[in-house]
């Protein structure tokens, strides 16, 4: 049914043509353009690595030992590097993540505005900016010179790198927990430890876990801290606590600087493997976050 003819004066509700409208359109176009510019390098990297690496990847490539560089791509694989990356990163995670989470809990729940807490927070920020190769050199001088190359030394270096990231991301997540929740728990007669363990941590857990997994993914891709701590050997070393080891980033570094076609192809395969590991970690982070966010929404 058509609306009855109205005697009211017609009101123009359209956006008037004006400089404001033009500015709005320009800004929107600029944002769309920046998005495209951001996507281009990312897409290009992914495309190149997949194009050059996918052909060599299969199960035996991931498990066989590393052959001499002169051999073509159909020989050998990167098994020792996959093993090394997994064991060293896992050890670094075990060392750094609990320590970082506990440190952040101290900073946020216990330290308050005490000088010690402020100092730790400041140092964590400074550590975030330390170049990763410096971490490697540090571990080289205080550990490797005395005890030799080992996966453990590499894990120390990666742990030093992860620690400030874990502290910062956990700290941010704890800050997001509303004080009203803490007060609700205190008002029931809970001690500080109880409040932290039963209310604050569960409420922040999703964010803490995904922050930690991002730190793990970051560490898994680091080359520089490992150069001086684990070397890059060609045989698998399942003992992470002693003896030189190798890792995917180190292997990519070695293969990329080699002139042989086979070694280069294996390098691309290793790069794609590394990206896949990081990707799996990211997905895991998302799933974990969603799982813990069940009650938060």
């Amino acid at each position: 049914m058509a609306p009855a003819p109205s005697s009211q004066q017609k009101v123009d509700l359209r956006e008037p043509r004006s400089w404001r409208r033009t500015r709005n359109r320009i800004a929107t176009a600029l944002m769309a353009l920046s998005f495209v510019l951001v996507i281009i390098p990312l897409g290009f990297v992914l495309f190149t690595v997949i194009a050059k690496g996918a052909s060599v990847i299969n199960w035996s490539f991931l498990t066989r030992s590393i052959p001499p560089n002169v051999l073509p791509a159909s020989f050998g694989g990167i098994g020792p590097a996959v093993l090394g990356t997994l064991e060293i990163t896992a050890l670094a995670t075990v060392l750094a993540v609990p320590l970082g989470i506990l440190g952040a809990i101290y900073l946020n729940e216990y330290g308050g505005r005490r000088p010690l807490a402020r100092l730790i927070g400041f140092m964590a920020d400074v550590m975030t900016g330390v170049p990763s190769i410096v971490m490697g050199l540090f571990i080289f001088s205080v550990w490797v010179l005395h005890f030799g190359f080992s996966g453990l030394a590499g894990a120390f270096a990666l742990g030093c790198l992860m620690l400030p990231i874990v502290i910062r991301s956990t700290d941010e997540m704890l800050k997001l927990v509303p004080d009203a929740l803490r007060e609700g728990s205190y008002a029931l007669g809970a001690t500080k430890a109880r409040v932290t363990l039963t209310v604050v941590l569960p409420a922040a857990l999703g964010g803490i876990v995904s922050g930690a997994l991002l730190a793990v993914a970051r560490a898994a891709g680091e080359t520089a801290p490992l150069l001086f701590t684990i070397l890059a050997v060609t045989t698998a070393n399942p003992n992470v606590f002693s003896g030189a080891n190798t890792s995917l980033p180190s292997q990519i570094f070695v293969n990329a600087s080699s002139p042989y076609v086979g070694a280069e192809a294996r390098g691309w395969g290793a790069a794609l493997t590394l990206i896949a590991i990081a990707f799996i970690l990211m997905i895991a982070a998302r799933l974990v976050t969603a799982r813990f966010a069940r009650f938060v929404r």
């Binding site: 308050g112 505005r113 509303p178 009203a180 929740l181 803490r182 007060e183 609700g184 728990s185 205190y186 008002a187 029931l188 007669g189 809970a190 001690t191 109880r194 039963t198 209310v199 569960p202 409420a203 069940r294 009650f295 938060v296 929404r297």
Partner: protein, 288 residues
């Protein structure tokens, strides 16, 4: 034969006695006794020289405009202000005759007996069941059957059971504002406190939910002592037995303001026959 009742002729009004809250009232025992209490937040003196008594099984309302220190006084009664950095209290607060701020007194032990419901409903991001069971659990209750019983009883007393009994495993955050506030009340009474402090428990709720909370308060009065901060004067007249009126005292010289207790007495007297002109202005709506 018994001697004749001495006050048989007292059908005359005796306003002095009725107006004095400390005058050994015919009602319950004194639960809280505040004597010359002043509270600071760092350099800011939020409340100055408050003295009042709270009686057992009564609802005591604290009214007054924003910034008059009602909430600060309320939070002093279960030592929630301890959690605010820089908060400091002077004067005496006793709870059932014991100094609340004594040397050996644990704030945790105090809060187990004196619960609190906040202005904004703050259910934990846990299931409805775990929200109510939280307090009993931190007090060491592990027995599943007993927890089930406590949860049901508390939710029933908070008039929420029928609405949530089929979804106890759902998040406490899935409830509406009024339900969430009743959940918080259930959570508070699950630990069987002696006193329930309420900080504007209905200010974020619609009139129907507010009515439910008020009914609940009257219901709980038989078992608990309730102190409630409210901005809503009708609410104070509807539920409370005694009313304390707080006022912001501003000093022109050094531009400081602080909250003071102007008048305290039976609710009926405060609203119908206030002694102080500021109380009269406030309760008749001419101020604040």
């Amino acid at each position: 034969m018994e001697p004749p009742e001495p006050n048989i002729v007292t059908n005359l009004p005796r306003p002095e006695v009725a107006a004095l809250p400390q005058a050994g009232s015919v009602l319950g025992e004194v639960i809280f006794e505040m004597r010359n209490v002043s509270i600071w937040y760092s350099a800011f003196k939020a409340v100055t020289d408050v003295s009042l008594n709270v009686h057992e099984n009564e609802i005591t309302a604290l009214i007054g405009s924003s910034g008059s220190g009602k909430t600060t006084v309320l939070r002093a009664l279960n030592r929630m202000n301890d959690l605010v950095p820089g908060a400091r209290l002077e004067g005496e607060v006793s709870y059932r005759g014991q100094p609340l701020y004594g040397k050996d007194v644990s704030a945790t032990a105090v809060r187990r007996r004196i619960g609190m419901v906040f202005q904004k409903p703050n259910p934990f991001p846990k299931s409805i069941y775990d929200n109510v069971a939280y307090g009993p659990r931190i007090n060491g209750e592990r027995d599943k059957a007993r927890l089930d019983e406590i949860v049901e009883r508390s939710l029933r007393r908070a008039a929420l059971w029928d609405e949530v009994k089929s979804r106890l495993r759902m998040s406490g955050l899935s409830l509406s504002g009024g339900q969430a506030q009743r959940l918080c009340i259930a959570r508070t009474i699950a630990v069987e406190p002696d006193v329930v402090l309420m900080d504007e428990p209905a200010s974020a709720l619609d009139p129907i939910a507010t009515g439910a909370i008020e009914d609940l308060m009257r219901e709980l009065k038989s078992q608990y002592t309730i102190v409630v901060v409210t901005h809503n004067m009708q609410q104070a007249t509807r539920v409370s037995d005694r009313t304390a009126f707080f006022y912001v005292l501003a000093s022109g010289e050094d531009d400081t303001r602080t909250g003071v207790l102007v008048e305290y007495g039976p609710t009926e007297q405060i609203f119908q026959d206030p002694r102080d002109s500021r109380t009269r202005a406030y309760v008749t709506g001419r101020m604040g």
